[in-house]
Amino acid sequence: MIWFFLTSGLFLGWSLGANDAANVFGTAVGTRMVKFKTAALVTCLFVALGAVISGAGATHTLGKLGAVNALAGSFTVALAAGVTVAWMTRIGLPVSTSQAIVGAIVGWNLFTSSPTEMTTLTTIVATWILCPVLAAVLAFLMLKFTRLFLYRMRVHLLRQDAYNRFGLIVVGAFGAYSLGANNIANVMGVFVQASPFQDITPFTGLTFSGTQVLFLLGAVAIGVGVVTYSKKVMLTVGGDILQLTPVAALIVVLSHSIVLFLFASKGLETWLAGHGLPTIPLVPVSSSQAAIGAVIGIGLARGGKGLNFRVLGRIASGWVTTPLAAGALAFVTSLFVQNVFEMEVVRPATSAVRWNVEAPSAVDQGLPAIVWAPNLVSQVQEAVVQPAMSTESRGIE
């Protein structure tokens, strides 16, 4: 049964692969600088590495938005997001998987009357604006710098072409890694709490946690999406919005990858915090928005000429409709799964209770001290704690 429930996550992973791989290699394949086969192979490999090695940060943030704590609920949320993304992909629009999953989680929250963490939601929505803007700024600056560099360095056109191809593959690999690290949260984040996998140790000294195994499974689904369906969207990103030169294509992929990496890197967050600098939230950002933002940055660096505003308008409208559609679909699907199939889409009375060790007076007085454990609790109904209990955390279901 667990495997059946996971299929919706795998379907969402397939959708993400079909759609978001275009953001990594779309410009390269669209400008015929990299063959689709090469692009697909590199994407599959590095998405898996990114997901397994660095996928936890953004997943944690998504978990805070809504704690989908029942397997049928996870199935419903992922299915709603997956169907939305697949439908948008089918009509050839680069759609955001992040927006779909966030919309679906909020839809699930509304259906189950679970609270939506507004701070997290605000942070995520803010990145929907920040992410394309940041990508556009990066692309704009990098194009200006690259033009100056090429103008001064007098590189032969053919050699520049060879460097560019090499660069597109290397930067594409970085982009795929960042995509895996950042967006695996969208695919498997809702299953983390209900994960059926145990830790495995294939070699001595190398242990994969159950979550990492789950992420690897999601990455495989993404890979299948890349191989089977991403070519069409790659050609949309590559040519429809703005005719890109190969150098511009390289800059688009690099800007997109940097933005995704910034929002997924725990190492960077630790480094910034260590130096007393403001940290960048680890949020699953929209890879589509990053790519489109970068393409706009290129268009602006060229003076705004040649931008196809009709296609941009269609894409922007997709960004609005995606979370709304996914949210509505999650709400309806949850209703259907709960009432027709009589499955539990939310665990109703989960609370985590522990002795409040920081407020011993409450314990001394024999009063129950209740602490929210956000990854487990949707609402607290009642908890009575005996003074004789251990001071260790203890979940009561």
Partner: protein
Amino acid sequence: MALVFKQTKQLEAKIDNYLDMVVNGGLHFKQGIGYYLNGQMEDLERCMRDLDSLESDADRMRRDIEALLYLKTLIPESRGDVLGLLEASDRVLNTTAETLAQFSVELPMIIPEVKDSYMALTDASVAALEAMVSAVRAYFRDISRVRDHIAKVHFYEHEADQIADRLKREVFRSDARLSEKLHMRYFALHIEKISDEAEDVSDRLSIATIKRHE
């Protein structure tokens, strides 16, 4: 990836060799016209044979380059421009070979008063061809210099036009027979055509350069 860089270097060398051939074609043409005007017919024949062989080699080289660019899907974005430039350059080389062959076949009567003008016209046309080749090389290696070379092509083309105009006026005011006058004009037009075709290449190049700047 090492293979890609190796292929790139080979192709760069081929393009350079091809452009060398176009320049050499111009020099052979200039030499051949000089021989004809001085009545050194044997030297003209030798020069013509050299130019013919050079032109055939250049054709083969161009086809090789085109095939490589397509087969290896190199410079996809500039490929059309590059192929167009190479073919247009080839037309200039063909014109030099055909014109020199026509001198050898038709043996036009050139009156002594206009011999210097014919040589000056040849010099200006070949100078336009050389500037054109420099512009094409700059397109590949140093795009900032393309504009300078294109300006030179325009300059020499204009100079060739003026010389041809003067030459034709001189011819038609001479005492030669009308058939000889028409024949001399015909050959002046052919020599002038080389600079016109060089200018066509430079016009293509201007557009291709703007595209590379984007």
